[in-house]
């Protein structure tokens, strides 16, 4: 099997009868959070395409959260992820940049999905609802363990109590460096602010290493 993953060796050569085109760089951001926290809305607010639902099959055993008393074993789980994309054509780099957004379920039994998604990702947004903050614990612990840059974005639901960023930081036992921001997942500007915060956080000295980018076609 050939590896065409993010760091893989040579993909098929471009046919020589095609003029050299500029290939985009694909980057991704994981949007994690519990059911109903607004992941689909968030992806939809910022994606240039209608958010898509992508099904992935997982062949690992489910965690004991599933009641399987009547079933001998369960080997395949279907996970639905939201998918969105934004294309940037900016002079900063010589190639277009495509940003992929993956909205993924926040429960422990879906950690397998996160593992492949987190590989090479810019970072993650943990979308939180203050009424169910405990639903964010798994995601926070997981991204901390991976040393993946992440921000906590509190989706402000109309009737939810407003807590200060410090209160949320304390409740989630966050490292002081982790940005905690409030957002409105329905609003493109607000969602873009969350992503910009994540990108800036990922650029901070803690995560980046000086490296020269070679993007010769």
């Amino acid at each position: 099997m050939q590896d065409y993953g993010t760091c893989g060796p040579t993909p098929p050569r471009r046919p020589s009868d095609r003029s050299p085109a500029v290939s985009p760089a694909g980057l991704k951001i994981v949007i994690a959070g519990g059911f109903g926290v607004g992941k689909t809305t968030f992806v939809g607010a910022i994606s240039e395409i209608e958010p898509l639902t992508t099904e992935e099959y997982l062949t690992a055993a489910s965690a004991p959260t599933d009641s399987l008393d009547q079933v001998e074993s369960k080997e395949t789980t279907t996970v639905a992820m939201d998918f969105g994309r934004i294309t940037f054509d900016v002079p900063v780099v010589p190639i277009p940049v495509e940003l992929f957004l993956f909205g993924t379920p926040g429960q422990e039994r879906f950690l397998h999905t996160w593992h492949s998604l987190a590989h090479g990702a810019i970072g993650a947004v943990v979308l939180a609802d203050t009424r169910r903050l405990d639903a964010s614990f798994t995601a926070v612990a997981y991204f901390e363990q991976l040393a993946l840059p992440f921000v906590v974005a509190v989706n402000q639901f109309p009737r939810a109590h407003r807590y200060s960023a410090d209160e949320i930081r304390q409740a989630l036992v966050l490292d002081p460096g982790v940005p905690v921001i409030s957002c409105d997942a329905r609003n493109g500007t607000s969602a873009a602010s969350v992503l910009m915060t994540l990108v800036e956080h990922a650029r901070s000295a803690r995560f980046t290493e000086p490296a020269v980018l070679d993007m010769r076609p």
Partner: protein, 136 residues
């Protein structure tokens, strides 16, 4: 199964045809593809008669480069099925994977280059002029 955010859980209703019928029973792609692998159309035609799903993938990639995740969502087939079909099209040189090296190896895995993060930041600012980073 609990589904608070609507339609994101579809197991039975999306699959009229058994998924791996589309791939003639094959479950393993020959190429290791990730969700964000981007595919572009090549100049070659697939050999023989392509399945409707493969033809759909090819048509989509001919209009615009597409990631595995987007192809899966658009044609309504699960990711593993799309990976098998894309592998066929790669072998036939009907599709190819553009070469980019947007990552470097950090001690905790591949990370995007700083220049690319800057490009994303600038791109977001262009599209949403009122958006602002609130990083500490």
């Amino acid at each position: 199964m609990e589904c608070a955010d609507g339609a994101s859980w579809s197991v039975e209703d999306s699959t009229q045809v058994r998924p791996y019928a589309v791939t003639s029973g094959r479950t393993q792609p020959r190429h290791l593809l990730s969700l964000e692998s981007v595919l572009e159309a090549g100049s070659a035609e697939p050999a023989g008669t392509a399945s409707p799903e493969a033809a759909q993938i090819l048509a989509l990639c001919r209009s615009h480069r597409r990631s595995i995740a987007e192809l899966s969502g658009t044609i309504g087939q699960p990711v593993p099925v799309v990976k098998v079909l894309v592998s066929d099209l790669l072998d036939a040189r009907a599709l190819w994977l553009p070469v980019t090296t947007p990552f470097y190896d950090s001690p905790t895995g591949p990370r995007p280059h700083t220049q690319l993060l800057e490009a994303v930041s600038a791109g977001l600012r262009n599209l949403w002029p009122d958006a602002a980073s609130k990083a500490v």
